[in-house]
Symmetry: C2
Subunit: 192 residues, 2 copies
């Protein structure tokens, strides 16, 4: 789908966004970092917007395995734990992602990008909600709590953890703190 050069451009763009923020992402910077000229970049992407779209697509592709793994668990609590830990594992392996993803706000005014991001968000939200509801039916998860609240708690705390990790300069172990958070969430929502 993406040529080697295109892949290189996307990865460089992600790195630059993580380093200097999306406002400082310029075609010139990307080209310089790769070591080619500005117009050469336009041989591979028609516009800057195309590059940003590719950044999001790239993220989607890399995140997919986290959702695939869920199918291996039967118990809904295991699925939720897996949802949290697998996501964090991928972000830990691609630390530059952290700063890119959680800047939906940065894509304000670029209709296409917002839509692409929103759909991604909603999709994993839906998947998690389905898991929670089926867990409640099977009496594995407390049923006296609104399933939407549980979803918000899980995703919200996950996102905050990643934000804190990213803003702190990644000084703590994301996966270890994630395990602690996940364990605590399990204790809270498990049906007695």
């Amino acid at each position: 789908m993406f040529s080697e050069r295109q892949q290189q451009i996307v990865e460089t763009a992600i790195k630059l966004i993580a380093d200097k923020g999306i406002q400082n992402l310029t075609i010139k910077n990307i080209a310089f970092e790769i070591g080619i000229s500005e117009p050469a970049l336009y041989r591979h992407f028609g516009s800057k917007l195309e590059i940003l779209k590719a950044v999001i697509t790239n993220f989607q592709i890399k995140m997919k395995p986290a959702l695939e793994k869920l199918k291996e668990s039967v118990n809904s609590l295991n699925k939720i734990e897996s949802f949290i830990l697998e996501h964090l594992k991928i972000i830990n392996l691609n630390p530059d992602f952290a700063k890119v993803i959680f800047s939906e706000a940065n894509f304000q005014n670029e209709e296409d990008l917002i839509l692409k991001m929103n759909n991604m968000m909603k999709q994993s939200h839906k998947i998690l909600e389905t898991i929670v509801q089926s867990g409640q039916k099977k009496d594995e998860i407390r049923s006296d709590i609104n399933s939407l609240s549980i979803v918000r708690i899980i995703i919200g705390s996950m996102r905050l953890l990643v934000t804190q990790w990213s803003m702190s300069g990644m000084i703590f172990n994301l996966e270890a703190e994630g395990k602690q958070l996940s364990d605590d969430i399990m204790k809270l929502i498990i049906a007695e």
Copy 2:
């Protein structure tokens, strides 16, 4: 502290950020919206950065009452509920804030602004953590859960709720959904 004109500039800036994103916030736009010329704006703020700093200061000032109200409650669960609901009440009254606050990422590369925002975040984080820990000591809150996890769950789910509200175009009732979320969190963390 701020003159009337300065206040007007700050409020216009917030409105424009909410509408069009921070990348589209230009001195020209602010001036046009107010109905004065661009250089006139520089009579009131020395630079664009000064305006952005004032935006954050303004936010701090408006949010303060949410922390004041906490002191009225004795019970730690009441304090937490109040923490959530008072914050949401203020955001509901100043909907433009929602899009501004949760774009810490937008301030990347402006050292001063990141610092200002981070300190704000850390401060309310600390306040909440103190409340949770004292609640655990007084046996009002479950003690088998890491207090840091509880703080992350509360703030994380709150932030996600606000983000969803803002991204949805404010189609749902923030305070009502907030009450539901708050009630559910209470049920989860209360000591039996």
